[in-house]
């Protein structure tokens, strides 16, 4: 077991910078999720921990040891990849025992550990099969077996569930969480799927491509609920949550305590009054699930025209145009679903409004 520290880590390919100034500490036994869109450097960061990519700048530590120049085999980590990457010419048993054998572990010990790992992952009946004779889910379990059998200092997962169908993904997600609880091993899990991130991680590190991120790829690292409730910037606000958070550019009328856009006004929530004072304009963020439909024109509501409706069973996602800007709304069970062309009135939940600096796109501090 060990913690993993990125200390101002950077990665470049020639003159192209992919990661800059990444500082982050994954605590011992923590389940950390790296999430972000394609090209944000999350997989590269993970591969640097594994030793499969070199570190161009800064220091990378596993425990107290700087591992920048260590070979992958010297780092005592295990990796599970999206493609499973099983050894196709070896049986399930040989795949699982390979890492132990290559380290020269005595055979009785190897057999005991392989039997234990196979038992945990329900692979015992398949031990003598080749990977090609297994289903996708079974193959991914073999990849997990290969990782857990070694009791490494850290598990590294690089989008391990992306190749599985939706149902299997949910099952395997639960299985990985259970495994991790059983072994209490430090884990870094890379995904682009925010549902996976929110449901699995103790903490989530949100990455952005350098072009969007500016100084560092790391936009915020926090618990799932903190990211949802207090996103540090517009990028995180819109990346976490589905559908993404509505961001409206609005003028601040401090005197009357209103945000105004396109002639429409909503009240500034009391918690934000001090923070927005003196700002001519701000970005107001409100999640689709935090907007309520008002029955009639009322003060402090926004008029919005319905452009499209996606009914998802109990709830519906309504795409709208309000104050000249696109928005979306998520209705909850029992709420009437508007139809295309309707003009409805929306009231934001004052306790769930977020405000961002229009220049830096960083969150303003509420009182």
């Amino acid at each position: 077991m060990a913690d993993i520290t990125f200390d101002r880590v950077g990665k470049s390919y020639g003159s192209t910078k992919v990661i800059t100034d990444l500082s982050l500490k994954v605590a011992d036994e923590e389940f950390m999720v790296f999430v972000g869109p394609s090209g944000c450097g999350k997989s590269t960061a993970l591969r640097m921990v594994a030793g499969l990519e070199s570190v161009s700048e800064g220091r990378l530590l596993i425990g107290d040891r700087v591992v920048n120049d260590l070979e992958p085999r010297e780092r005592d980590v295990a990796i599970v990849l999206q493609s499973y990457a099983l050894y196709p010419h070896k049986t399930v048993r040989q795949n699982i025992e390979f890492a132990l054998k290559i380290r020269g572990m005595p055979k009785p010990e190897v057999d005991r550990l392989v039997a234990e790992a196979a038992g945990i992952l329900e692979l015992t009946p398949y031990l003598d099969r080749k990977p090609r004779a297994l289903s996708g889910g079974q193959r991914q379990r073999v990849a997990l077996g290969r990782a857990i059998v070694r009791r490494p200092k850290a598990f590294l997962f690089d989008e391990p569930l992306s190749n599985l169908d939706a149902e299997l993904r949910v099952t395997m997600r639960a299985e990985i969480v259970k495994l991790r609880r059983k072994f209490s091993t430090t884990t870094i899990y890379v995904t682009h799927d925010q549902t996976e991130a929110m449901t699995m991680g103790d903490r989530i590190a949100v990455f952005a491509p350098l072009a969007e991120a500016g100084a560092s790829n790391l936009m915020q690292c926090d618990t799932p609920m903190k990211l949802y409730r207090e996103p540090a910037n517009v990028f995180v606000a819109q990346f976490i949550g589905s559908p993404k958070m509505n961001i409206l550019e609005m003028a601040v009328d401090t005197e009357k305590g209103r945000f105004i856009a396109d002639g429409q006004a909503v009240a500034i929530p009391p918690a934000w009054k001090g923070a927005v004072s003196g700002w001519p304009k701000v970005l107001v963020g409100i999640r689709p699930e935090h907007l309520r439909i008002e029955p009639a024109a009322a003060a402090g509501t926004l008029a919005a025209e319905v452009e499209m409706v996606e009914v998802l069973g109990d709830e519906a996602v309504v795409h709208l145009k309000a104050a000249g800007q696109p928005m979306s709304l998520r209705t909850t069970r029992g709420e009437p679903v508007p139809t295309v062309g309707d003009v409805i009135r929306l009231r934001p939940d004052p306790a769930s409004v977020h405000v961002f600096d229009p220049q830096t796109r960083q969150r303003l501090r509420a009182a």
Binding site: G51, L52, E71, P72, R73, R75, A85, A99, R103, L156
Partner: protein, 271 residues
């Protein structure tokens, strides 16, 4: 059986016979007397002369040429694979710039006619004492076989997902162990195909053995060609020699056939 299927089988049998005809003719000739072999129209009924095989084998230098070819063939295969595999692996995996150009350069060597190497090689071999030696012949054949092995093996290595090698490294392998324990077993069909082509190139190669060998490194193709006399052609003995010469190739093909088929069809279907 449908008529169309009968037609397909009939044409396939006909095609097979067409390919078998020269071999049948060779076996046929190898059992005749010289006068019967040269007769026009051909003699259809004759007493088989098994002694032609004994004559061929015991002819001056034939048996030693056979041995030379086996040694040079195996030696060439070993050198070609030993150098071709790391070179192919490097071309497939290394991030160096211009590796495409290096690859094309190597292939270009293969395109050059063997003839242009002969005179410089002859001079070099004379001064280095490599003329008419197994080592010299094995090295000369690399001009033909090594570029081919590099290209073939490079393609096979590229077919092995890098992820598998990455996981092996994290699992505890050194780079050399990745190559020997993971990549090599996965590209075995490529290694076998490459070995096969190399062996056949040596077995049938005439130009290098003719120019760079004399007696110690004379190969089977030169020995068979030597059956031509100034005044007469020993057709039946020559045919018997050719039959003997094909035996190792047939054995080798039979032995590696399963891998060879996989090697020749790699990439033809989605894995």
């Amino acid at each position: 059986m449908k008529a169309s299927r009968i037609g397909i089988y009939a044409s396939l049998i006909l095609l097979a016979l067409l390919f078998a005809l020269p071999v049948v003719w060779l076996v046929w000739t190898s059992l005749k007397l010289p006068v019967e072999a040269a007769a026009i129209p051909p003699v259809w009924v004759f007493t088989p002369q098994w002694s032609n095989y004994v004559d061929a084998w015991s002819d001056r230098g034939f048996a030693s040429a056979f041995l030379n070819t086996v040694v040079i063939g195996i030696g060439t295969v070993i050198v070609s694979i030993a150098f071709g595999l790391p070179m192919g692996y490097g071309l497939a995996r290394s991030p160096i710039r211009g590796k495409q150009a290096i690859g094309i350069g190597i292939l270009f060597l293969r395109m050059l006619p063997e003839m242009i190497f002969l005179i410089p090689l002859y001079g070099i071999y004379r001064s280095l004492g490599l003329f008419d030696t197994w080592t010299g012949m094995i090295l000369a054949f690399q001009i033909i076989t090594l570029p081919f092995a590099v290209w073939l093996l490079r393609g096979f290595v590229e077919g092995v997902p890098v992820d598998i090698e990455d996981v092996a490294r994290v699992d505890g392998c050194t780079d050399f162990q990745v190559l020997t324990r993971i990549t090599m077993p996965l590209i075995l069909p490529g290694i076998v195909a490459s070995a096969m082509f190399t062996f056949v190139s040596v077995w049938g190669g005439l130009l290098f053995p003719l120019a760079l060998g004399y007696s110690h490194a004379e190969t089977i193709s030169v020995a068979i060609a030597n059956f031509r006399g100034y005044s007469n052609f020993q057709w039946p003995v020559m045919a018997a020699g050719a039959i003997i010469a094909t035996i190792p190739q047939i054995l080798f093909f039979g032995f590696v056939q399963r891998h060879l088929v996989a090697g020749l069809t790699v990439g033809s279907v989605k894995g």
